[in-house]
């Protein structure tokens, strides 16, 4: 329970030239893709995942997480200066941030966004450091029944907080679980759903699914919308980056509230940065004495959501690091990075691999500091990246994705799978089936099957074990009530409102 001792282990692990380099690389790459039009952290991490397998686990995780939270910073830069949210979670920042830029206060908006993000990052690091060990301790007592029910709850919660039809979202989770069973069954050793293709014996590679469904999906969507977008970006000039004492005083409380809200929502499965930034904005607008200023360049409307999305991005690591359960597709990719490195995600990571665990947490603080220094003084460079035309970006994404998958699987079959998932992802979107829950199902599937089998063997085939174990019953109860709650019309309406965001 000694936070400082533990963080010292972490800082000791990350303050080596190599790890600092990967931290910097991740933060810089994250900022870059946050700024680049039409690229998100999910696809970038999927793209780079195969190349991290040769790194040691800590370096790989440091770099991948740097990309994730770095993208939150970069996304807000273009949101403010160009009115283009580089990331989904920066959409709300465009509302007031770009208005500020139009009034000639671009520098203040950028500074407010960066300082709020940094503050939130520091707080979130401490929150993770305090909460994670407690949660691991708790999870250590979990048996297979508890784990199975926890996974059910996690999947249900991620679906409840996703937008769109509930039934179809659950369906996509089930499809993901099915994809997870492809390959050699660990218990019996027989090959399932491989159709005799040897390259499928180890299962479908997650990079092929994520790149296919999200990467190709993004490219096709961007190219189809090409005609409607002008291609020319109108960048607002940045004059002064300094905030007045009065500005700082005005943004402090919103920043603090945004951080707390974000940190809380980030832990929830399916929550994360997007929900956090929308809710933080809505809260600030509601409690503000001058709500009419929102949407017309209110500093609070930049500080709160920016703090919230960064805090949310970071605390979404908590369930991943302590329980081995991904709260969003990016965390699912992180888990697969751990698995490939031979580390079984779960509560044992903190005791078996303390340098990895605390190193990642310490790297978040270091990375946030690097981002603050990378973003504010160098804002001109990043903005010029936003002018890169998309026609040069998408072939690069396609090529990098193919090379990575080919290099790591050594077979062209997985490249064809990538193409097939591209088509499947396109069809699913046409049918209004959001593919994000599928990735969570795919990662959780094999673990869930293992826990189900063990629980049933222990109980000698009695399925009521999931209701007899109190913790397990509690989880299933939570899952059931979450589902019922969403189906109730009144709550359903507020959920739809909260998830589409208050854009008035």
């Amino acid at each position: 329970m000694d936070l400082f001792g533990n963080l010292a282990i972490g800082f000791g692990a990350i303050l080596t030239p190599g790890n600092l380099f990967y931290c910097f690389l991740g933060a810089a790459l994250g900022t870059m893709i946050g700024v680049l039009p039409g690229m998100g952290p999910l696809v970038t991490i999927a793209l780079l995942l195969p190349f991290t397998f040769s790194l040691d686990p800590l370096s790989a995780l440091i770099m991948l997480s740097g990309i994730f939270y770095g993208a939150q910073y970069g996304g807000s830069t273009t949101a403010i200066l160009v009115n283009l949210p580089g990331e989904e979670s920066s959409i709300v920042t465009t509302l007031d941030g770009h208005q500020m830029a139009r009034q000639g206060r671009a520098g203040q908006a950028l500074a407010a966004a960066a300082i709020s993000s940094f503050f939130a990052g520091c707080v979130a690091t401490v929150v993770i450091g305090l909460a994670a060990p407690v949660l691991s301790q708790l999870a250590f007592r979990f048996g297979p029944a508890e784990y199975f029910s926890l996974m059910v709850f996690g999947l249900v919660a991620s679906v409840v907080l996703a937008h769109g039809s509930l039934l179809k979202a659950v369906g996509m989770v089930v499809l993901g679980l099915m994809l997870g069973t492809i390959g050699t069954d660990i218990q019996s050793g027989i090959q399932r759903y491989t159709f005799g293709v040897p390259a499928l014996a180890d299962g479908v590679h997650i990079a092929a699914i994520a790149m296919g469904v999200f990467g190709i999906g993004e490219i096709v969507r961007n190219l189809t919308n090409e005609a409607s977008s002008s291609g020319q970006v109108d960048v607002r000039p940045v004059e002064r980056l300094m905030l007045s004492r009065d500005d700082l005083k005005r943004m402090f409380a919103p920043m603090l509230r945004g951080t707390l809200l974000g940190a809380l929502l980030g832990v929830l499965p399916g929550g994360g940065a997007l929900l956090a930034s929308f809710s933080a904005y809505a809260v600030e607008k509601r409690i503000s004495k001058t709500p009419e200023k929102f949407g017309h360049g209110a500093l609070e409307g930049v500080a709160a959501p920016e703090a919230a999305n960064n805090a949310g991005a970071q605390t979404s690591f908590i369930p991943m690091l302590t329980l081995g359960i991904p709260s969003n597709p990016v965390m699912a990719l992180m888990i697969s990075a751990l698995i490939v490195q031979g580390i079984e995600p779960g509560p044992a990571v903190i005791t078996l691999h303390p340098t990895l665990f605390w190193g990642v947490i310490a790297s978040m603080w270091v990375g946030n500091l690097m981002l603050l220094m990378l973003n504010l003084p160098l804002v001109g460079i990043w903005v010029s990246l936003a002018r890169i035309r998309y026609c040069y970006i998408f072939p690069t994404v396609v090529i990098f994705g193919c090379i990575g998958i080919y290099a790591v699987t050594g077979s062209a079959v997985m490249i064809f799978m990538l193409a097939a998932f591209g088509v499947a992802g396109y069809l699913c979107r046409k049918l209004d089936c959001e593919p994000a829950p599928m990735i969570l199902g795919f990662i959780i599937g094999p673990m869930m099957e293992g826990h189900l089998h063990r629980a049933l063997i222990i109980s000698q085939g009695d399925p009521t074990i999931f209701l007899k174990e109190p913790v397990s019953a509690l989880m299933l109860g939570c899952a059931a009530s979450a589902l019922i709650a969403v189906l109730l019309p009144a709550i359903r309406r507020t959920r739809d409102e909260a998830l589409t965001g208050d854009e008035s």
Partner: protein
Amino acid sequence: MQIIRNQKDFGAGLMFTAIGLGYGVAAIGYGIGSPERPGPGFFPALLALASTGLGLAVLSKSLMGPRARLEAFNPRVLGIVVASVVAFGLIIPLFGMIPAIVIAVVISSFGTRQFNWQRRLATAAVLAVLCVALFVYVLGLPVKPLNWELM
């Protein structure tokens, strides 16, 4: 087709049902076992039940409620991007990285109107040089830039 009110739900329901049934048949073949001794088909059989059930629910929902039409498909862009990926997969094991990149970039460049032939080839050349330098020489990936034996 007046009876189908929501075409998107109808399509999604059909997809979940069909996948559930096909997946379930295979699960029976793997051996379901019993709850005391679950076999390799046990978990898949549960998933098949869930998928089929959800599919039927979505199907029945598509016959009620507000109408929604399926948007028109635009297979051209998708076809081009997928074709460039497939071409890459076909070429790289036979001829190596450089021809795979050049051909994949040229194919994918037809997805946008912003390319003429000069730009197209220049982009392909730059990417090929960049990728070989980065992946083969810096990262040392076991991929050949050019496969001479077959050429």
